[in-house]
């Protein structure tokens, strides 16, 4: 593996290996403090995403490396109309590894074909965001200790949520995983995902509009935001939005060992009253994001 563009390019073994490294970093961070000494990570954010960028930068600093880059297209040559290919050839001359976010779908793939420097896709429009999925996987692994035999509920915007699509694809490779897809009719998962991933691989799934009813069977609940702009009219949005807000009373019948994940940022889809519930792990998830990015950087730089 040279670049990371799409989570499905990783084998299950490669994911296991990175998760093991991430757990080792958590156990003994000092051991890794100088692993990337004198190495430079370039964060090329053609579109702003402060959280993702900070996570990459913190990861590189904790490995003893340095960071160069830009945080929005206005401050880069892209604003002058330079192509992705030319930008990458230039940056590739300075950096040892590149994390790239771009509003156009497929831009990181184009970049990866123009340089020998490893490219990490840090999000390309609504398409892929593989380090978020790695973050989700590390969180599930740490909370549940396994990927097999899990009932995973995904709730909210399942139609446009790219993190949802990638997580379903990634988890569909494990044994005895069942999905409960909780969303309003308007925001169900796309047909192609149902046909090409779930049905094709014989994976058990149910679609429902009722979060409370689905709750008791879930081992993992992955919450996403239902955005106002996804609805054709305001009435539908107002009618539906509260059904997909997680509150303590909706958790009454949940399993004791449920894990609640959210890719963040949260707007109001999880009540802050849930934050102190030990089953809420979305802030741990943020930290996991840094650790798995450290493991990924080590892997791509082939640092042992």
């Amino acid at each position: 593996m040279k670049h990371l563009i799409d989570i499905m390019e990783l084998t299950v073994e490669e994911i296991d290996e990175m998760i093991a490294v991430a757990k080792d970093i958590i156990a003994d961070p000092d051991k890794y403090a100088e692993k990337c000494k004198r190495k430079k990570l370039a964060t090329l954010f053609f579109e702003p995403s402060t959280r993702t960028r900070l996570s990459f930068e913190a990861a590189m600093y904790e490995l003893g490396g340095n960071v160069i880059g830009f945080s929005e297209a206005q401050s880069s040559s892209a604003a002058k109309g330079e192509s992705v290919a030319d930008t990458i050839r230039t940056v590739g001359a300075y950096a040892d590894i590149i994390a790239m976010r771009h509003p156009k779908e497929g831009a990181p793939l184009v970049a990866s074909r123009k340089t020998i420097v490893p490219i990490i896709n840090a999000g390309d429009g609504g398409h892929n965001h593989p380090t978020q999925t790695l973050t989700d996987l590390l969180t599930i692994s740490r909370e549940k200790g396994r990927f097999n035999d899990l009932t995973i509920g995904l709730c909210g915007d399942l139609k446009f949520g790219r993190t949802v699509h990638s997580l379903i694809s990634a988890m569909s490779r494990y044994e005895n995983v069942k999905f409960v897809l909780i969303s309003p009719d308007e925001l169900k998962i796309p047909e192609y995902l149902k046909e090409e991933v779930l049905i094709k691989n014989n994976i058990e799934f149910v679609e429902t509009a009722d979060l409370e009813e689905a709750m008791p069977q879930l081992d993992v609940l992955y919450m996403t935001r239902v955005q106002r702009e996804r609805f054709f009219n305001e009435q539908d949005y107002l009618r539906l939005k509260d059904s997909y807000i997680l509150t303590p009373d909706k958790l009454v019948n949940a399993k004791e060992d449920l894990s609640i994940l959210h890719p963040l940022p949260r707007v109001n889809e999880i009540s802050t009253a849930v934050d102190d519930d030990p089953r809420a792990v979305y802030f741990e998830q943020v930290l996991n994001g840094k650790y798995i990015r450290m493991a990924l950087i080590l892997k791509l730089l082939e640092v042992k």
Binding site: K104, E105, G106, L109, V110, D124, G126, E196
Partner: protein, 138 residues
């Protein structure tokens, strides 16, 4: 109806009825100086009705285009009035600059001179997806 027999050239046969014009354009046959005949709705035992394209000259055809449109189409090479061979048409694994990605969010819309590449992702249903954004080809 009678179309003159070809001495040296190509007969593209078993085109689904109504598809000949599309294929004509995709293959760029309008650029040819030689005679080209498009026969629409010809009777066919196997297909009921079919289209045929006859080209009165030996040219280099991009068989990937034909395979992409329909691998059931047959291409006959005619030499000295005889059918010399039937070219083997396959569903191509990848097509380059034959179809354009229509997704406005795709990198192909902004990146200079980037080839439009589509990959065959589902052979059974003949689904092609953009290499970059994975949009389905229409």
């Amino acid at each position: 109806m009678r179309i003159d027999k070809i001495e040296n050239g190509i007969v593209i046969d078993h085109i689904k009825s109504g598809q000949a014009m599309e294929l004509y354009k995709m293959l760029g046959l309008e650029k040819l100086d030689c005679q080209v005949a498009i026969i629409k709705n010809a009777e066919s035992g196997k297909m009921g009705r079919k289209d045929i394209i006859k080209i009165d000259q030996m040219i280099d055809l991009n068989l990937d285009i034909i395979g992409y449109v329909d691998p059931e189409i047959t291409v006959n090479i005619i030499r000295n009035g005889e059918r010399e061979k039937v070219a083997h048409i396959e569903l191509p694994d990848e097509v380059v600059d034959i179809i354009k990605c229509k997704n406005p969010r795709c990198i192909t819309t902004t990146e200079q001179e980037l080839p439009h590449v589509f990959k065959l992702t589902d052979k059974e249903n003949r689904v092609y997806r953009c290499l970059y954004c994975e949009s389905k080809a229409k």
